[in-house]
């Protein structure tokens, strides 16, 4: 089979909100779904300024730890759970996603704690940056990915409990910089 070289990544630029937001993008599940909660956060830059032209995308397992995807070797869940969320930041740099708690997953080194994968796109980012959301009220102790992150920076990956869900802020640069991953 011929190997093809990939198309490079480019920035979404300042006008991503023409093409990418969907009306139902922030709703991984419809409002009123039992157990649903909001993840809210602010994207800030290295000067501490809010980033009003970013977009957050989330991808996660369903509450039972399944994926409605043919490459899940445990079998496709066919739960109908969209598992995907997308929200541009507003003028205050804020995004929000309504979702359900993902299940615990098997990993190569023991179980993976409940987590959500996140992509951040923005003007000024030539490639997306990738991070993970963990939850402060869940057991994260055995998670190999979290353990691979320097201890003093792990808190940047852990969403804080709020009244209607969790808060997960993204700091692109500088003090309290979010841990970003190479895939």
């Amino acid at each position: 089979m011929g190997e093809l070289l990939t198309t490079p990544s480019q920035t979404v630029g300042p006008y991503l909100s023409i093409g990418l937001p969907w009306e139902d993008g922030p709703f991984v599940v419809p409002e009123g779904t039992p157990g649903a909660f909001w993840i809210r956060g602010t994207v800030t830059d290295g000067a501490g300024e809010v980033v009003p032209d970013a977009m957050i995308e989330t991808w996660q397992a369903d509450p039972k730890g399944g994926f409605d995807h043919p490459d899940d070797p445990r079998g496709r869940s066919e739960s109908g759970f969209r598992a995907f969320g997308r929200c541009p930041t507003d003028k205050n740099g804020e995004y929000r996603v309504l979702t359900l708690l993902p299940g615990v997953l098997p990993g190569e080194q023991g179980e993976q704690a409940r987590h959500i994968d996140v992509s951040v796109f923005a003007r000024g980012l030539l490639n997306r940056v990738v991070t993970r959301i963990y939850f402060e009220d869940q057991d994260n102790s055995g998670d190999a990915v979290l353990a691979s992150v320097p201890a003093e920076r792990r808190n940047t990956l852990v969403a804080k409990k709020t009244e209607d869900g969790y808060r997960f802020d993204v700091r692109l640069q500088g003090e309290g910089e979010t841990v970003f991953f190479a895939l």
């Binding site: 011929g2 300042p14 409605d68 490459d71 445990r74 190569e108």
Partner: protein, 244 residues
């Protein structure tokens, strides 16, 4: 649930050095305060990373793939057909997959409140398109050739004409946002976004090809643009060495 050691997951090798831009690129001023300053942490590709959203027909409206018919009148400018295939690095077509585009109008103006460049807004052009790939991974849009525009990044800075593309592939590892450029654009040499890609051959993979056969007589020019996302190795047991 299977024991961890039973998991056989595809693996998506990283692109060769030079394929992607560094996150910090001095020529493109906006990277300065927005690029991570700490090194990236390696994320092993596990279940969440090797799966991804499979977004289908539910995301499409009737005229989403024809940007020239979304309003009562026709937009100004040169009609073009943009077509190509969405493939993975092993040459496999990615079928029934969502492709989203957005772009400026023929005068280089985006329909966006943030765009103050005094070129007219075209009331008949929104600049937004969506399509699904077919069984061969092929997509097609009818649109207008976008204009170049100034953007104040540096002295007399102009963006080459481009269309923004967003594709998902079939795994979180394959998610890609890129820009399609037009052949032989005289503005390439001064554009830091285009030139942020270190490898010249990789840069050229963002340039579409004029396709005379696909033009429509008396009506539209045509450009081909294939998009390739990362390929996969089907089992973790196949690879012993890491190609970093």
């Amino acid at each position: 649930m299977a024991a961890p050691t039973d998991l056989r997951l595809p693996r998506y090798p990283r692109e060769p050095e030079g394929t992607n831009a560094p996150l910090d690129f001095a020529g493109y001023g906006s990277t300065k305060l927005r690029h991570p300053s700490q090194p990236l942490v390696l994320l092993p590709q596990m279940l969440t990373e090797v799966t991804g959203p499979l977004l289908g027909p539910g995301r499409l409206g009737e005229l989403d793939n024809d940007l020239t018919r979304q309003h009562d009148g026709e937009p100004q400018g040169q009609r073009i057909i943009v077509t190509g295939r969405l493939l993975d690095g092993d040459g496999r077509p990615i079928r029934n997959s969502l492709v989203e585009i957005w772009q400026a109008n023929a005068g280089g103006r985006y329909r966006h409140t943030g765009d103050r460049w005094p070129s007219p807004i075209d009331p008949n052009f929104s600049g937004l398109g969506r399509a699904l790939t077919d069984g061969d991974g092929r997509y097609e849009f009818t649109t207008i050739k976008p204009g170049a525009y100034p953007w104040k990044n540096h002295d007399n800075a102009w963006r080459p004409a481009h269309i923004h593309f967003s594709v998902f592939g079939s795994a979180f590892t394959q998610r890609l946002v890129t820009q399609m450029y037009f052949p032989e654009d005289p503005l390439f040499s001064q554009d830091p976004i285009f030139n942020s890609i270190p490898d010249e051959k990789a840069r050229q993979r963002m340039v579409s090809h004029f396709n005379l056969e696909r033009t429509v007589p008396e009506w539209a020019l045509a450009y081909d643009f294939d998009i390739v996302v990362r390929g996969s190795e089907q089992s973790v047991f196949e690879d012993e060495e890491d190609e970093d």
